[in-house]
């Protein structure tokens, strides 16, 4: 991977906007992503994550604004942007009737990888993604996780400096997901900047920084710790048999902001004014008073899911149906 002598950030987005007939899919997004980041884009379906990625990868042309990949404009210097980026689109986007190796070789040729490099790189990527023994299998006969790993391998054949991934692990089993992320971090350690859109909070948690998108705008941007730290108050885990009956009891307490069930555990958010220890004791005694036994009350920390639930005001709640980011790429050029 060649690092350009300049020190321009991996990605600099300035007032980027994309309108479809009646919807603003990306609404004046401005942000800078430094080199070496694993940058997560999170947000509900229809928030504009996919459209943003399409604009940044030159697949679509923005209505206004611009973005710069290592200092090169995605609208005016596409030819210079393209060789430096890799883009793994949502869903499977390879040729099912081509074998694993044929897919890799085809995209290598297309991206102008030197002939002599194709073989060794392909071998390395296949080994890396555990696909070596499937080289001659047609892509359509791979499992979901293997398909995604192949798509990643194909994207990486040109050794991009900036990699865009649009929900790369949707529909992939947990083991393959973990595997996939291990690969991403390996690459990141070697200097590749990664921008990934994901619906999974556990994946967002692994990013160096995250941006939360809603209705086309970035409404929050921070490190995962930073986002969690913004949650006002204390998070307390309550474990109690028959937690359904316990929920109303907890909601009655004056300092409790919210109670959410997470598996068998109740996640209680308490107001900041109540010091943690005090709250723990108050909760325990309230439950005992109501006849609950085997009660466990432990201080915990906020996770991203809770953070977004509390930090995103109701007015920003996503519209459920406008999946503008599935509009076809027909107008890209």
């Amino acid at each position: 991977m060649t690092l350009a002598p300049d020190t321009s950030p991996a990605l600099e987005i300035r007032g980027l906007r994309k309108e479809f007939e009646s919807v603003v899919a990306v609404d004046d997004v401005t942000m800078t992503i430094p080199r070496g980041a694993v940058f997560g884009l999170v947000g509900p379906d229809g928030a504009g994550k996919s459209t943003l990625i399409r604009l940044l990868t030159t697949v679509m042309v923005p209505t206004s604004g611009d973005a710069f990949v290592f200092g090169k404009s995605v609208t005016l210097e596409r030819a210079e942007v393209k060789p430096r980026i890799g883009y793994m689109s949502q869903g499977f986007s390879l040729y099912g009737d081509l074998t694993v190796l044929e897919n890799i070789a085809f995209f290598a040729e297309l991206r102008g990888v030197p002939r002599a490099d194709i073989g060794p790189r392909a071998d390395r990527l296949l080994a890396f993604s555990g696909l070596t023994e499937f080289g001659d299998r047609q892509a359509q006969f791979l499992s979901g996780g293997m398909k995604q790993k192949l798509a990643l391998a194909v994207t990486l054949i040109s050794e991009p400096d900036l990699l865009f991934l649009d929900e790369p692990t949707t529909g992939v089993d947990p083991v393959s997901r973990r595997e996939f992320w291990r690969i991403l971090f390996d690459l990141n350690r070697q200097g590749m900047t990664v921008v990934v859109a994901t619906p999974y909070m556990d994946e967002a948690e692994r990013c160096t920084e995250i941006a939360f998108m809603s209705r086309g705008r970035v409404i929050l941007r921070d490190t995962p710790e930073g986002v969690r730290g913004r949650v006002p108050g204390h998070v307390i885990n309550v474990t109690v048999p028959d937690y359904h009956r316990a929920t109303p009891v907890l909601r009655e307490l004056p300092f409790v902001t919210s109670v959410e069930a997470s598996g068998e555990t109740l996640r209680v958010l308490a107001e900041p004014r109540c010091a943690a220890e005090e709250c723990l004791r108050a909760i325990e005694s309230a439950l005992v008073e109501h006849g609950f036994s085997d009660v466990s009350v432990v201080a915990s920390t906020a996770d991203l899911e809770m953070a977004f639930a509390t930090l995103i005001p109701a007015s920003e709640a996503p519209l459920p149906t406008d999946r503008t980011d599935t509009v076809s790429a027909g107008e890209g050029r």
Binding site: T57, Y87, E102, L110, G112, R333
Partner: protein, 375 residues
């Protein structure tokens, strides 16, 4: 160049691995070739014919004999009433009923024209028309024979009588074989089908698979993509033309009387036209289904209907005749048939070549523009 080659190589893999596609470009043309050459024969021979002899004289018997001896009519039976005539037609037993009227023999003996009525089942116009002309010729010949006999009887030398002799000879296809007409036409049709349909599909398919995005994020130039996508179909089309021509010439004894070079030139021009049409469709069609539908509408339908493949273009309504001029198929149809059957050269075919060239230039410009704009 390297990227265009990569695309072309990939397209060939798609063709090789798609059994339906192989079926369409290899088996279907062969089936059509045999179907049109053997089964769909427009050769009209042995038309089933019934005889209604109302006269029963030696003269009427003579006329009927002449008819029975002709290979064009096959006498299937005799009827004796109008009701039976209806029944013959309705049961589809015969296509022609020849009625020799009362007094046929007497009229001729008296020197008056004898009356013969020929009823033809017109539900199938092609054989109806053939039957009509056969029977007209047959009656004329019979009439001439009778006249000569009468002149001889009166002591005149028939060779000294001024008369009119018609000699008809069918050129280029003396036996009037349908295969000679159909096989060269079929080359045109198959070329049209494959080239337009497949090019129309090719880009839309990438869009539907989601692979198109992957192509545009790569540094490939649009024109490289276009060339890479189209080249394989140009090759397949060329192979198709060669294969059908060879099978036609060897298996169906289709004559090839003209210049191979000229035919090659015409084919190249026409393939450019078809690929252009296909590309235009691919650029504007929103889905694969739409692409197929449009390809069928603008490519294949006019190919069959407005090219003179089945019906001579003189016999279609004037509006459709006008319409046929804007599709390239009719020009290439004329070129192909003229070169195969008549051996005609550029001196006679230059208007068709000129028309194809104009169409090729226009469609290439239009489709490239649409492709740059929309794809």
């Amino acid at each position: 160049m390297r990227r265009a080659l990569a695309i072309a190589r990939k397209e060939f893999i798609h063709i090789r691995r798609d059994p339906r596609l192989l079926l369409m470009v290899v088996l279907l043309p062969l089936i059509q070739l045999f179907l049109f050459s053997y089964a769909v024969s427009f050769d009209v021979k042995a038309v089933p014919t019934a005889i209604y002899d109302q006269d029963h004289t030696p003269m009427s018997r003579q006329y009927i004999d002449a008819l029975e001896q002709s290979t064009y009519f096959h006498v299937t039976g005799y009827v004796n009433s109008d009701a039976e005539v209806d029944a013959e037609f309705e049961t589809n037993k015969t296509r022609v009923v020849v009625t020799v009227g009362h007094g046929f023999g007497n009229d001729i003996a008296a020197g008056n024209p004898g009356q013969v009525q020929i009823l033809i089942d017109g539900t199938e116009p092609n054989s109806a028309q053939a039957a009509q002309s056969y029977s007209a010729v047959l009656s004329q010949l019979f009439g001439a024979k009778v006249a000569i006999a009468q002149l001889q009887y009166k002591g005149a030398d028939p060779t000294k009588v001024a008369g009119l002799t018609t000699t008809t000879r069918t050129w280029y296809n003396p036996e009037s074989r349908s295969a000679n007409y159909f096989v060269p036409g079929l080359i045109v049709i198959l070329l049209t089908t494959v080239a337009i349909q497949q090019t129309a599909n090719t880009l839309v398919k990438e869009k539907e698979q989601g692979t198109y995005e992957q192509l545009i994020v790569s540094p490939i130039h649009k024109m490289e993509l276009m060339v890479g996508k189209i080249a394989p179909w140009a090759v397949v089309s060329a192979l198709e033309v060669i294969a059908i021509s060879v099978i036609g010439i060897l298996a169906f004894q289709i004559p090839f009387r003209g210049s191979v070079a000229l035919f090659t030139l015409g084919t190249i021009l026409y393939v450019i036209c078809c690929l252009g049409i296909g590309l235009l469709i691919s650029a504007i069609a929103p889905t694969l289904d739409a692409a197929n539908l449009i390809a069928g509408l603008v490519g294949i339908l006019p190919g069959f209907m407005l090219s003179g493949f089945i019906y001579p273009l003189d016999s279609v309504p004037p509006f459709l005749q006008l319409l046929s001029y804007i599709f390239p198929t009719r020009y290439f149809m004329t070129i192909t048939r003229t070169i195969f059957l008549k051996g005609g050269g550029f001196d006679v075919l230059w208007p068709q070549f000129a028309a194809l060239t104009v169409f090729a230039v226009v469609i290439v410009i239009a489709s490239s523009a649409a492709y740059r704009e929309r794809a």
